[in-house]
Structures are given as structure tokens and as C-alpha cells.
Symmetry: C2
Subunit: 406 residues, 2 copies
């Protein structure tokens, strides 16, 4: 008998608590092996300060069900980077705490940076001969993890983006005048989420008209030419741009506007290119221009969560608990499509976390068309199954009921 410890790290998604739900639900189903399930408050950083909760005792069955569709990170999050030096004093301190709680399985839910934490912890565990199973549960709206078909959290964000881009485009379509609408979408250096705006297009003639991903250097002259050409063809041009577009010198467009700040992992705060382009297009073409930054709502909106995404997040973390039971460690839970199945079918597996951490899966260049202004239909085939279905949310006073940490 031992205990589970689970933590959440990095930016929240609409599915990160579904991942937590999967760990708790599967952990409870294996109470012959796992006695208690502890949750780190604010990830590994909070755990180092002895901030954790006993999840097995505090979440009842009703709350657990609500947790599945509760947005944000229930346990809180952190952006704490473990030291590179494996001889740093933080490691023995951490494992002392793990052993004191009799932890036998540790799950860390997060993206690239969180997988870096999993890799370091499992490497250290090996050096000291600890048999704690340390596993990463993938989560990111950016869909930029390697060695996995797609990441939990991406489907819900993609569904929000597709739905919002369609609704905004229709809204901007009402006046019989020329207009440009610029929609700024998250995704950091990878264009996956911006590409999901393609799902908004109901036929060839429909918006979005132009889609710019960070995988192709953004050239202002080409952009002006593209907009001019499209404005000549149609009244309303919707342009979707990734927050991470950069020019041919690698300078982020949003850096033109402000000194981009960096977080503890050295990542710059990338927002504002939509507003910048709005002003540029306005002064260049004199038409009505509006920019919309989808901002954190695209990762936080429970009402527009994808059922497929939520269910896959649960399945992946349930698989994670089973992998721990089989003694696996130093791995991330991954998934692949069953190529032999007639309809979309996902299979779960594990991959060495060392292959995943600190790497980024870019949007495939072969799916970027028309000189970097459009996305190939092949992406639709890839992405559509991920946004299918809606969760039936329990509501209170007209709003979704959520589960909150007491």
C-alpha cells in the first residue's frame, strides 16, 4: 500500500481538471493498492512548502463529477523550474517529503515545462534507487507536445476558437461596407490553435479568409498585399493570426508594440499583435477594422468544452494510474490514432518523458498552403474529431456548477 500524489502545472485548460478527475477516479478504483490521493497546491512549488491536500477525503462523489468540467486548475498551478543540477539540495528535500507521505506514484499534469519537471524527478529517483513511479499527464491548449497525436485541452480550445471565429465573422458581416476583422489566437510558437480557425469556415467562400501561423515568417508587405487582394474580392475579411507570429528576423510582431516580458521559464508574454495589425490595416486601407484577442477565455470556457476532449483527458489519466500500477516511471502518457479502425479511435500508450520535455511540435509545413495564408483540408480531418460533442453541464442560476477547493 502506498499513496498517490498529483499536481497541476503551467497554464490552465478546460480539460486539466478532467485529467485530475481521471487520476482520482482511477486511484479510488484501486484502493487496494493506493490508500490515499494527495494533491499538491500550486504544483511542485507549493509541495516544497508542504502545501498539499488530501483529495480522497475532501472530494465527495458529487464534487468529483463537477470537477470533470470545472475550468482552471483545481489545485492551483506554478511555473517553477527545477534546477538542472541533479546534486541540488532541492531533490533530497523533495524525496524526503515524498517518502514521509509514503508516495508510490506521482502524476504531474502539464505541458513541455511540466514534462521537464517529470524528467528531472524521475532521473533523480533513478540515481537514488527510489521506486516511486513518476509520470507525466499531458495538457496544453497549444498542442505542441511531441510524441503524441494531440494533447488534452487542445480540443476544447479548438472548439472555442472555431465557434468564436465563426460567430465573430458573422457578426462583422452585418453591414454592407468593407471591413477587416483580425482575431488573435493563442498557441505560443505553434500554430495548431490558430489553424483550428479553419473549422469555422462552412464553405470555400466563407471566413476566415486569411490565416497566419508562427511557422511561416510574417512579412508585412505580403500581409498588406493579401488583405488588399481579399478586400477587392469581398466585403468582409476575417484574418486569424497566431499570437506568436514573428518577422523574418525572428522578432515577434507583438514586440514591435512593447517589450515582451518573460516568465521564469524565459518565455515571453506574447500578446498584442492583433491590435497592432488593426492599427496598421486601418491607416493603410481606411476601412473599418476591428481586432479581437480571444485571450484566456479560449482556454477557460467550460460552456464550449469539447466532450471528446474531456473524455480523452479522463481516459489518458486513468491510463496513467494503470501505467503506475504496472511499475512504469519516467514516462508521459501519450495517444495515437488506431489506423486500422474505420472511425476515429484513440489508443493510449506511454513514451519516455525525456523525448518530450523541452521540445515543441510545430504545425506541419505541408498543411500550410497559399504562401502561408491558409490551411490544408487535411488538418480538418485531423482536428474535427477533437471538437466533437458537448458536455451536459449541471447549472445553478443559469451558470455551470463547478467544484472548488475548500
Amino acid at each position: 500500500m502506498g499513496n498517490i500524489l498529483v499536481g497541476q502545472s503551467g497554464g490552465p485548460t478546460a480539460a486539466i481538471n478532467a485529467s485530475l478527475y481521471g487520476i482520482i477516479a482511477q486511484g479510488k478504483e484501486n484502493m487496494d493498492i493506493f490508500e490515499k490521493i494527495y494533491g499538491m497546491r500550486n504544483g511542485i512549488e507549493g509541495f516544497l512548502d508542504d502545501r498539499y491536500v488530501n483529495l480522497s477525503d475532501t472530494i465527495n462523489a458529487d464534487d468529483l463529477e463537477l470537477l470533470k468540467t470545472t475550468p482552471s486548475a483545481y489545485l492551483g498551478s506554478c511555473r517553477y523550474k527545477l534546477p538542472k543540477d541533479i546534486n541540488d539540495a532541492v531533490y533530497p528535500r523533495l524525496f524526503e517529503k515524498l517518502n514521509a507521505l509514503n508516495i508510490t506514484a506521482l502524476f504531474y499534469i502539464g505541458g513541455n515545462d511540466s514534462m521537464d519537471t517529470v524528467a528531472k524527478l524521475s532521473a533523480y529517483a533513478q540515481t537514488i534507487g527510489s521506486d516511486i513511479c513518476i509520470l507525466g499527464i499531458p495538457k496544453t491548449i497549444d498542442n505542441d507536445l511531441v510524441e503524441i497525436d494531440h494533447t488534452p485541452g487542445f480540443g476544447s480550445a479548438a472548439k472555442f476558437v472555431a465557434s468564436a471565429v465563426r460567430d465573430i465573422s458573422m457578426d462583422s458581416h452585418v453591414y454592407n461596407t468593407k471591413s477587416v476583422t483580425i482575431i488573435e489566437i493563442m498557441g505560443r510558437h505553434a500554430g495548431w490553435l490558430t489553424a483550428a480557425s479553419l473549422l469555422a469556415r462552412k464553405d470555400k467562400q466563407d471566413n476566415p479568409t486569411l490565416i497566419y501561423l508562427p511557422e511561416v515568417p510574417f512579412k508585412l508587405e505580403s500581409f498588406y498585399r493579401d488583405v488588399e487582394e481579399k478586400l477587392a474580392e469581398r466585403n468582409n475579411v476575417t484574418v486569424c493570426v497566431s499570437e506568436g507570429i514573428s518577422d523574418e528576423h525572428g522578432v515577434f510582431l507583438c514586440e514591435y508594440l512593447q517589450a515582451a516580458e518573460a516568465d521564469t521559464f524565459g518565455h515571453k508574454n506574447l500578446t498584442g499583435c492583433g491590435k497592432l495589425l488593426e492599427n496598421m490595416v486601418k491607416s493603410k486601407f481606411g476601412v473599418k477594422v476591428r481586432s479581437v484577442e480571444l485571450n484566456v477565455i479560449q482556454r477557460a470556457c467550460a460552456f464550449i468544452g469539447s466532450k471528446a476532449d474531456i473524455e480523452e483527458a479522463v481516459a489518458a489519466s486513468r491510463f496513467g494510474v494503470q501505467a503506475a500500477l504496472a511499475g512504469e516511471t519516467g514516462k508521459m502518457i501519450s495517444c495515437e490514432r488506431d489506423a486500422s479502425a474505420e472511425t476515429y479511435t484513440l489508443r493510449y500508450k506511454t513514451v519516455p518523458v525525456s523525448l518530450v520535455c523541452n521540445r515543441e511540435k510545430k504545425f506541419p509545413l505541408e498543411w500550410i498552403t497559399k504562401n502561408g495564408t491558409d490551411i490544408s483540408p487535411a488538418f480538418l480531418e485531423y482536428c474535427t474529431p477533437l471538437i466533437m460533442g458537448e458536455m451536459q453541464l449541471k447549472t445553478e442560476n443559469g451558470l455551470p456548477a463547478y467544484c472548488y477547493l475548500k
Copy 2:
């Protein structure tokens, strides 16, 4: 036998097509009296250019059902102001067109400005002895029409605002550090929609912490003091501000940032105060600050539409057709709560459109508390019934199916 003509005007809402649905559905049920239902393309402006569609022949039953939850304005919209001078040549030209199409009932769906159009048209009709019934169907997310309990479109926007403010606040809550989140909400000079952010607060301690409406002059020093005080009490402060907040001299905060542009009705483009406050708070307090402009998604999002709102929009315009059958003209369809009913019950009625047009219903000062930083619970009682319920949307490929003008 005569025909119906219907138009949509001003900014779209999630319920403006539900209003159109009501006219068409009720019109079709009275085909003994109304032979055809025509729709103006881009409101009165398009109709003057002979741009209209025959709705009775082009929308089938399936499409009509989809229309109810289709966002944006199906017929297109305009911001066209009819001349004040009733002797202007546009009036006889318009009525010639109305008579040529044998229009006996004209419905104009819109807000204050659209009611101005209804008032002018019905006044002119009276001078020439025309018996065309001209009626206004209310619509605006701003909820700023007088002589009505609340406007169709407000409930859905309020539901989006409440849901987004809760989800964004939860998202900003994940890190164990001080942060301020500023959410900019629409509503022009009236605070109704910003006040709806109160619905996001699940208990007294919850966000949003500070709410600023345009009804109270915005003082920067008081704002700084409020934020400082709240930051001392808690980690994460969500501030909701109306796009239309202005200082004690009546200068819109967003005007500090840019020369606010004006539309044909002389209304300034009010956006950007959230970003301005973000920069101010950042440099003043040095904490993490994020601003989120809810932008057009708050009026366009079908996924988060309020069932109560959609159904009331339908009921109001059905009532409008019945009012035309009773020979009423120069009126706006209005509603009031049945004070004698135990639960929320709405009654429809008509009010003279001349009482409504060019006036604004401000948010009641007695519902603004704590020196202009919070909203009274009395507003919750008023607003909660308006956001109740969700429409079951038909979806295609994971997104809502809509009805489009061919």
C-alpha cells in the same frame, strides 16, 4: 390581404434572429391575413436600394428552426438615420416602395436608433394617412431602452458576461502570486451588462472584486485606492469595467488612449479602457496584470445563449404581429413582470415608440453600492431569470448549425 416587411438594424445580438423567427413564424400562422413576408437587406438603407428578400418562399421549416439560435443579423443591418425633416424626399420614395409591395405591417428590430426610425416612419405615415402598421421590436445587449423591463438580447449577453467573468477569474486564480485581471465589458453609456458580472460571484469573497459602471464618474485616484485595498486583502483581484466609463469631466477613459471615432449616429467607438487601466495598474503596483476585452463575442456567441432570452425574443415579436393584426402602429413591443405571479412571469404590451426613441435607460443608482465599486443583490433578483436555461443547439462537425441567407 397584405404583406409583412421586416428589417434588422444596429448591432447584432444572440437573440436578434429569434425576433426575426417570431415575426416569420407568427406571420405564417396568419397567412389568411398576411400573404408574404419580405425582409429588408441591411435594414431601411438596403430597402431604399430595393434590396429585399421574400422570406416566406426562401426559408423552409428546418432553416426557420435554426434561425432561432443563429447569431448575427440574418438580414444584415445598417446604421442609417432617417432625416429629421419629414418633408424630405426619402419618405414618399419609401412609402411608394412599401405600397408597391403591398406592405400592411412593417416591423423594425433594433435599439434606440432603430426606434427613432420607427417613430419617424409612423409619424410620416400619419401625415399621409397611410394605414401601414409600423412597429418596433426591441433588441439590444445594452438593455438601455426605456419603457421596458429588459430588452431581448440582454439576457444572452449577460449570461456570456457572467460565465466568462467567472471562468476568467478562476483562470487568473491558479498562481500563488498577486495579480489583477481587468475585464472590459460592452454597454455604451449604460452599466447593465457590466453589472451582470455580479452574477459570476458565487459567494461574498469571490471575484469580481470591483465593478465600475458608467453611471458613476470614474476617478483614477479612487480606482488606485480601491485596487490597493483589495490587493492587500487577497491575491487575485478581478475588476470589471464598462467600456463607457468616463471621468468627472465626461471624457471617456478610452479617449485618453485614442481619438474615439464616431458612427453615423454620432456615437463614439468606445473600446480600450481595459488595456489603458492594465498599463496603469502594472506601472503603479508592479503586480501581474492582464486585461481582457470581451469584445463582440459577448453579443455573438450562440453556444452561451440564454434560453429565457431566446424564448422571450420569439414571444415579443409574435406579440408584435398580433399587435399589427389589432391595427396598432407607432408602438414598440414592451414587456413587464407580473408582480402578482409567484415566479418570474413576463407580460407583453405595446408602448408609444416616441417615448422610447433617442432615450437611454441608465443603470439605477440605488443598485450601485460601496462608492461606485459594487452592485446591490437586488440586481441579482432582476437579472438571474434572464440568463436561465440553455438552448439545445443542433450541431454539425462539433459546431452549432446556423441558418444563412442564400
